[in-house]
């Protein structure tokens, strides 16, 4: 999905460039806070940003070369936006993926220089922000266990990729230089990217799970997960006072929320997907998805073809399913975003530094 020069017209490229620059500027400030970390008292965080974010960017760069075999001879690789957001936080994630894209554009000519804004908006900002918003929302409603972190990262990564495809389609609708009809672009892009998203989701969830098993303190998204401090007073375990707000939360609504979201997603996405995708369609897209090293580009380039191959089978139904998942995704993002914001605001007066504690 590295967009080359000339694919999106100049004004829209310029606007996305401004958006990207603004987001990177905001991320720079946010990353300083994120990488400051709770465990290192001595650092103000400022001078820690460059080495840590740089190494994380190098990690993303390297992990994109790690091939995950799909089936006979084909393999895919991680895109890393969701993974970065969950492991090191959304700001640092945006920053690292943007730097990776910048370097890919300048050094490897992968993605045009004028399209850098489009690429960053699409692949760095959208994936990380969507993934992190979903992740936060899910972690809020799910029980506070390691497994729910893994599950939340699965869903976050799953939807972040089609969301990026959606944003790309929107940019294309605004400033595409070619006349491929929007509906076709939308169906093909989102369709293929939902399948890529499944791979991304599995790998991201497994990777986050692996990191959590070894160094849970490194996973930014799991910072609130540490068990509340217990004190043994007279042979009995007593909650330490600081952990009180976490324990006071009601559990029943959470469960309802979680079940609701999962059911909606399953119904909207997978059920309709299974109803419509013939073996051909699946095989085709698995093939699309697999092509080595440049998964996304191949996916994009082949997408009209993919569109054709599923067209006469279940275009409407597939499109319906996609629309369903997107709808649920957008609703969850918006809803949980509002929910979270309201909650934070309500929690703000109570204590000065809620984000890490809750």
């Amino acid at each position: 999905m590295h967009v080359p020069d000339g694919f999106i017209n100049a004004p829209v490229s310029a606007v996305t460039g401004v958006v990207a620059a603004g987001a990177v500027a905001v991320s720079l400030r946010g990353a300083r806070r994120e990488l400051g970390g709770p465990s290192h008292a001595f650092s103000g965080g400022g001078e820690k940003t460059a080495p840590l974010a740089g190494l994380v960017a190098a990690f993303i760069f390297a992990v994109q070369m790690l091939n995950f075999p799909v089936a006979a001879g084909t393999s895919g690789h991680l895109l890393g936006g969701a993974l970065a957001a969950i492991l090191v936080g959304p700001y640092t994630g945006v920053l690292c993926v943007s730097v990776v894209l910048l370097m890919q554009g300048i050094l490897f000519a992968d993605g045009g220089l004028t399209a850098l804004g489009v690429n960053i908006t699409d692949m760095a900002i959208t994936t990380t922000v969507v993934a992190y918003a979903l992740f936060r929302g899910l972690v809020k409603v799910l029980p506070r266990t390691r497994r729910s972190i893994t599950a939340a990262s699965f869903v976050a990564a799953l939807l972040s990729v089609p969301a990026a495809a959606l944003v790309f389609t929107a940019i294309y609708a605004l400033g595409g230089t070619t006349d491929v009809p929007i509906t076709k672009v939308l169906t093909a892009m989102v369709g293929v990217h939902i399948l890529i998203g499944i791979g991304e989701a599995v790998i991201t969830a497994l990777t986050v799970g692996a990191v959590i098993a070894v160094r849970p303190d490194l996973v930014y998204g799991a910072r609130g997960l540490t068990a509340p401090l217990k004190l043994r007073v007279g042979g009995e375990l007593v909650d330490a006072p600081a952990a009180a707000p976490a324990a006071a939360r009601t559990r029943s609504t959470k469960k309802v929320w979680g079940i609701g979201i999962v059911t909606a997603l399953v119904l909207a996405g997978f059920v309709s997907f299974y109803a419509s995708a013939s073996p051909d369609g699946l095989e085709k897209v698995a093939h699309d998805k697999g092509i080595d090293a440049k998964t996304k580009q191949h996916a994009t380039s082949d997408s009209p073809l993919a569109d054709y191959s599923v067209k006469d089978i279940g275009d409407a139904r597939l499109a319906g399913g996609l629309a369903g998942v997107i709808g649920v995704g957008v609703t969850v993002v918006v809803g949980s975003g509002v929910f979270w914001a309201v909650r934070r605001r309500r929690a703000e007066p109570a204590s000065e530094r809620t984000p890490e504690a809750v």
């Binding site: 080495p51 840590l52 740089g54 190494l55 994380v56 000519a109 491929v180």
Partner: protein, 253 residues
């Protein structure tokens, strides 16, 4: 590490193009691409002139044509996309060799192919004639926030280290009889990715401590400030200026 920090995309040399200051080259390439992108697609000949201009620069930089063409291959996925375009775009149909093609689609394919190829070629020439460190200095000179340049330089410097670490992990896995086959091996690979993240992050922490203990306080000292004379700027800007002239002609004619 024998190759130092010179990336494999760089071609060592001492040509007029190599000797230009990096920020001039970056600015020139960027402006050139902007001009190319804003050329109307119906004008065919400006693109040919752009290609001639780039060929001239490549010649001055003594980059062999074969090398340049090989590096252009990165564009192939989009070429495939462009080739599909005449078949999927609706609109007036033209018949060529018994195939029914859409006229709009042909224009669109031409547009993406021409502009994309020129952009990639310009970037390839930039990367082949500029050292990595110089590129980063150039970015810094162009007022990219210094922290961003630092992150980029850490990424570039440790990219090889992390990639090698990944390669060693792969050797370790294989020497224990692991073979990546199908979806079932994802768990193992993901654990490797997780371990790689932990190692990278911890390395970052060590690097940070080492730097702090050597007096790092958030900014890298700039030892070799790159400067450009007026003549160098003129030479660098001549490429986009020529392109702009062509572009203006393309709009008016």
């Amino acid at each position: 590490m024998g190759a130092g920090h010179s990336h494999r995309l760089y071609r060592h040399g001492h040509s007029p193009v190599h000797d230009l200051p990096p920020h001039c080259k970056l600015a020139a390439v960027f402006l050139f691409v902007v001009v190319v992108v804003s050329t109307p697609r119906e004008a065919m000949w400006p693109f040919a002139l752009y290609a001639v201009l780039l060929a001239g620069v490549a010649g001055a930089a003594r980059i062999p044509a074969g090398y340049l063409l090989k590096r252009l291959l990165i564009e192939i996925p989009f070429v495939a996309f462009a080739l599909l375009m005449p078949f999927v775009v609706p609109g007036e149909q033209v018949h060529v060799l018994g195939l029914s093609l859409s006229e709009n689609g042909l224009w669109g394919a031409w547009n993406v192919l021409a502009k994309g190829t020129l952009g990639v070629a310009a970037s390839v020439i930039l990367a082949s004639t500029t050292e990595l460190r110089a590129l980063l200095l150039g970015l810094q000179r162009l007022r990219l926030p210094s922290i961003l340049v630092q992150i980029a330089s850490f990424m570039i410097r440790y990219g090889d280290v992390i990639t090698d670490e990944m390669r060693r992990m792969s050797i370790a896995r294989r020497s224990r009889g692991f073979e990546a086959r199908g979806v079932r091996s994802w768990g193992v690979l993901a654990k490797s990715a997780g371990a790689l993240f932990i190692r990278s992050y911890e390395r970052g922490e060590r690097v940070h401590l080492a730097m702090v203990s050597r007096g790092y306080a958030g900014a890298m000292p700039v030892i070799d400030e790159v400067t450009a004379t007026r003549a160098q700027w003129t030479r660098a800007v001549s490429l986009p200026a020529a392109a702009l002239a062509v572009c203006v002609l393309g709009w008016t004619l």
